[in-house]
């Protein structure tokens, strides 16, 4: 909020416009009909003045709701204020601390000023008010957020307007006094509201002063809102562009990963195959000193195969190239098949594993290979995070909802509540992974989620907390 600052407080003699001050009270018995009439007039006058100020504010609010672009807003605001208050010129300026100037955002002037502009080229809309911090005139605006006024245009615009133009503006356009009001938001000057009138400032009526004061506060808020909107719009545009660029980069990355992993897969298969053949004794008995290194080569190449497969799956998913071969099959048989294939490894780790018991086939429509990969992934995950205890796979069919719920419950390290929402994101691994010395890409659960999504199903995890195990669920539609 700013307050008018009277640098030359010559008071103008005005009649008392109060209701009863210094006059007979209308309520008293001595009041004559003329007294009553005059008193009513003064009451109406007070209301009319308030009404005029409110009308101006209503107009400004209307503009602020219809316009968000700062330049257009400024154009409409200055025109409305100039025409409603019958002043010579109204300008709205933005303050730039870096440039130390007020830059014009919108200026509205009378026809005579426009004519002088056309003849002299003096365009207020193109003239910034420079070196603001170096002029005493602007000090009250910045130090106390008070307005200031002057009868010298040169005090405001400096050498940017010639004396000849100033003389014409005074003589022909009657620009006598310029009132400068700071636009203040959060105790900071964000701009300037400039009003040029054709009288001395002391001749500016109380109503006009009040109107300008009220308008300035509304304009400051409106301008601030418009600037925020513009900043937001620019940020949004930049974000949109950055997002597009990121998408392109992501696409390039996916293509690169796909290409690289395809290239890796071939040699890796050879390494794994030959290591396997050496272990199997296809090249004769492996010397004892080489048995462990060859075994390590085989295990490591196996791990790499899984990693490469994860990367390839992610690339296919992101490029929309993952192919699904849908058929009807028994999910129970598939789940138990996975358990049986992994049973040896699981039990080797000292864990108990139990398969699903299904009284009848649980038929689903899906890609058997992909669902096998998902169940294998979940089982592998449980195994990795369960140092001791058991893993239990179960299936529950719900004929009413035509859904089947597959669950893999373990007695492992459990999952913190805050980790759960991120678990199915790319490259996400439980924080305990390092504690239990788990290797992995953090892609397995992401791939599983995407594959289940492609089946129209749901996948999620529940855990009572750290050290209390976890249960992974997959829900699919029954045929």
């Amino acid at each position: 909020m700013f307050k008018f600052f009277h640098t030359n407080p010559k008071s103008v003699e005005r009649p008392n416009l109060g209701l009863v001050q210094g006059r007979k009270n209308v309520a008293t018995d001595e009041a004559s009909p003329k007294d009553i009439q005059e008193s009513l007039y003064r009451q109406n006058l007070e209301l009319a003045v308030k009404n005029k100020t409110l009308s101006l504010l209503a107009k400004l609010y209307e503009i602020s709701t219809e316009t968000l672009e700062p330049k257009e807003l400024a154009k409409r605001v200055v025109f409305a204020v100039r025409t409603i208050l019958n002043v010579r010129l109204v300008g709205l300026y933005l303050f730039s601390e870096a440039a130390d100037d007020f830059t014009p955002l919108g200026v509205s002037a009378t026809d005579t000023i426009e004519k002088i502009k056309a003849e002299t080229g003096c365009d207020f809309a193109a003239v910034p008010i420079s070196r603001v911090s170096q002029s005493k005139f602007w000090k009250p605006l910045f130090s106390n957020h008070k307005s200031n006024q002057t009868e010298s245009l040169l005090e405001i615009f400096g050498e940017k307007i010639s004396q000849a133009v100033v003389d014409r503006l005074r003589a022909e356009a009657h620009m006598k006094t310029v009132l400068c009001c700071p636009l203040v938001i959060d105790n900071k000057v964000i701009g300037l509201f400039l009003v040029a009138i054709n009288r001395a400032y002391e001749m500016f009526s109380e109503h006009e002063r009040n109107s300008v004061e009220a308008a300035v506060n509304v304009v400051a808020l409106t301008l601030d809102k418009a600037q925020l909107y513009q900043t937001l719009a620019i940020t949004n545009q930049k974000l949109g562009e950055a997002n597009e660029r990121l998408k392109e980069l992501d696409q390039l990355k996916s293509e690169f990963v796909s290409l690289a992993t395809h290239q890796i897969r071939g040699p890796l298969t050879a390494i794994k195959g030959f290591a396997s053949m050496m272990i199997e004794g296809d090249y004769g008995e492996v010397p004892k000193t080489l048995q462990e290194p060859v075994d390590t080569i085989y295990q490591s190449s196996q791990s790499l195969v899984v990693i490469v497969e994860d990367f390839l799956n992610v690339s296919r998913i992101e490029q929309g190239k993952m192919k699904y071969d849908f058929t009807d099959f028994d999910l129970c048989a598939l789940a138990n098949e996975v358990v049986n294939e992994d049973r040896v490894i699981i039990e080797k780790r000292g864990l108990n594993v139990s398969a699903a018991i299904c009284p009848s086939p649980v038929t689903v429509h899906g890609d058997r290979g992909k669902l096998k990969q998902v169940i294998g992934n979940l089982l592998d995950n449980s195994m990795k995070y369960t140092p001791k205890g058991s893993i239990m796979l179960s299936l529950v069919s719900n004929k009413a909802s035509k859904k089947v719920l597959l669950s893999i419950k373990d007695t492992g390290v459990g999952i913190r509540a805050e980790t759960i929402p991120h678990l199915f994101h790319k490259f996400s691994r439980a924080e305990d992974a390092s504690k239990v010395n788990i290797l992995g890409t953090g892609l397995g659960l992401y791939v599983a989620k995407e594959m289940i999504k492609a089946h129209g199903g749901r996948i999620w995890v529940e855990s009572p907390g750290e050290g209390k195990g976890a249960t992974f669920f997959v829900e699919l539609a029954l045929v």
Partner: protein, 98 residues
């Protein structure tokens, strides 16, 4: 567009400003002033005729002051302050001089 004579503008502004305070009565009172012809109150067309326009404006101001006192005189003066500011001092009606 032809420029509206300044005294027509002054008279119109005064009547309009009074109408904001006292309503349509302002137009009725203006019609009683000799030299003021209200052509179209809705369109704001007022003609100042018959003799010295300064005197006609003075009579208009006095008409309101007679009914509503000094406050109405000040209202008239403020209503036309910007128009008066652009007139040579000799052309300003006595009632509107500060």
């Amino acid at each position: 567009m032809m420029a509206i004579p300044i005294f027509n503008q002054i008279a119109y502004r005064i009547i309009k400003e009074q109408a904001l305070i006292i309503g349509p009565l302002a137009w009725d009172e203006a019609r009683k002033v000799s030299g003021i012809q209200v052509v179209d109150s809705a369109k704001g067309q007022v003609d100042v005729q018959n003799g010295d326009p300064k005197l006609v404006v003075d009579k208009l101001v006095a008409q309101y002051e007679r009914l509503f006192g000094k406050a109405s005189h000040e209202v008239c003066r403020e209503a036309v302050a910007d128009l008066i500011a652009e007139l040579p001092p000799t052309d300003v009606p006595t009632s509107l001089q500060s």
